[in-house]
C-alpha cells in the first residue's frame, strides 16, 4: 500500500512538472501584431509590414537585415500586455541603422484590440522620418 502511494505521488509530481512545459508549447492566447514601418534615413526610404505572433506579456525581437553585408539593420523589440476592457499596452524599442547613421526610439503605445496604434516622428534637419503603426489582435 505504501509503495502504491509512493508511485501515485511520483506520478502526480511528474505531471505537475510536465504541465507547464506543455503549456509553453501551445501559443493559445498569443497576440498578433500587424506592424507597419515607414522610415527614411539619409534619403534611404524603407517600408515594411511584418506580422508576428507574440505571447502576452513576453518580450520579442524582430530584426530585418538587408543582404549579408548587413548594410541596413532594423531592430524592433516589442512587449505587448493585455489590459482590461480589450486594451493593449505596447512597449516598442525601435532602431534603424543604414550605413553609419542610426535612428532609435523607445515608444509606449496603448490601443485597443483590433485598432491600430500610431507613432510618427520627423526631423527634417537630420533627414529622419519614422512612422510606426501597430495593430494588435488576439489569436484564438
Amino acid at each position: 500500500m505504501i509503495r502504491s502511494a509512493t508511485r501515485v505521488l511520483i506520478t502526480l509530481g511528474l505531471l505537475a512538472l510536465a504541465l507547464p512545459a506543455l503549456a509553453d508549447e501551445a501559443p493559445s492566447g498569443a497576440i498578433k501584431l500587424m506592424i507597419g514601418i515607414s522610415a527614411e534615413l539619409d534619403g534611404v526610404a524603407l517600408d515594411f509590414k511584418p506580422s508576428m505572433a507574440v505571447l502576452d506579456g513576453k518580450k520579442a525581437r524582430i530584426e530585418i537585415m538587408r543582404d549579408e553585408k548587413k548594410e541596413m539593420v532594423l531592430t524592433m523589440d516589442v512587449l505587448p500586455k493585455r489590459l482590461p476592457n480589450e486594451q493593449v499596452d505596447l512597449t516598442v524599442g525601435f532602431s534603424l541603422r543604414t550605413g553609419k547613421r542610426t535612428i532609435a526610439r523607445e515608444i509606449r503605445l496603448r490601443t485597443l484590440l483590433g485598432a491600430p496604434g500610431h507613432f510618427s516622428v520627423e526631423d527634417k534637419a537630420k533627414g529622419e522620418f519614422l512612422r510606426l503603426d501597430v495593430t494588435p489582435t488576439l489569436i484564438p
Binding site: L9, L17, K32, K49, A53, K59, A60, I62, I64
Partner: protein, 141 residues
C-alpha cells in the same frame, strides 16, 4: 551451592571459566552435570580450533514501522521532484529562446528576418510583395 545441588547454567559457565571454584565432588557424583561440563569443553575446543571462522551472528533486520515508511516515501518523492524541478527551472532561465530565421525577397533585394523570443513571424510585406510563413513547417524559409 551444596554438593548435591546442580549449578545453574551461568554458574557452571563461570566455574568452567575459573571464576568460581570447580565443583569437583558434584561433577564426580552427577552424570548430568558432567555431560554439561563436557559440552562446555567441546564448545571451547571447537572455538579454539576455528579462531578465524567464528559463527556469524545474524541480527534480524528491524522492520520499519508505518510512520518511518511514510517518511521515507515522502522523502523519496521530494528528492525526485526536486531533481526534476531544478534542472527545468535552470533551463528556462538560462537557455534563451531559439532564434527563428526567415528569408524575404522584394524589389531585387534579399532580406533576412530574425525573430527572437517566444514569438514567430506570420507574414512580411514590402510594397506589392507579401510572404506568409507557415511556422508549423519550421521557421527557416
Amino acid at each position: 551451592m551444596k554438593d548435591n545441588e546442580c549449578p545453574s547454567e551461568l554458574d557452571l559457565t563461570l566455574m568452567y571459566d575459573g571464576e568460581l571454584p570447580t565443583p569437583v565432588k558434584h561433577l564426580s557424583d552427577c552424570s548430568r552435570c558432567r555431560r554439561r561440563w563436557e559440552g562446555l569443553r567441546s564448545l571451547e575446543q571447537m572455538i579454539l580450533a576455528n579462531p578465524s571462522d567464528p559463527t556469524p551472528v545474524v541480527k534480524p533486520r528491524p522492520r520499519p514501522d508505518r510512520t518511518r515508511r511514510l517518511v521515507l516515501a515522502a522523502a523519496t518523492f521530494l528528492v525526485l521532484a526536486g531533481a526534476l524541478l531544478v534542472p527545468a527551472q535552470t533551463t528556462s532561465v538560462t537557455t534563451p529562446p531559439a532564434d527563428k530565421l526567415y528569408n524575404f525577397s522584394a524589389e531585387g533585394e534579399n532580406y533576412t528576418i530574425k525573430v527572437t523570443g517566444e514569438a514567430y513571424l506570420t507574414s512580411m510585406q514590402m510594397g506589392e510583395v507579401t510572404a506568409h510563413y507557415d511556422n508549423d513547417e519550421g521557421a527557416q524559409r
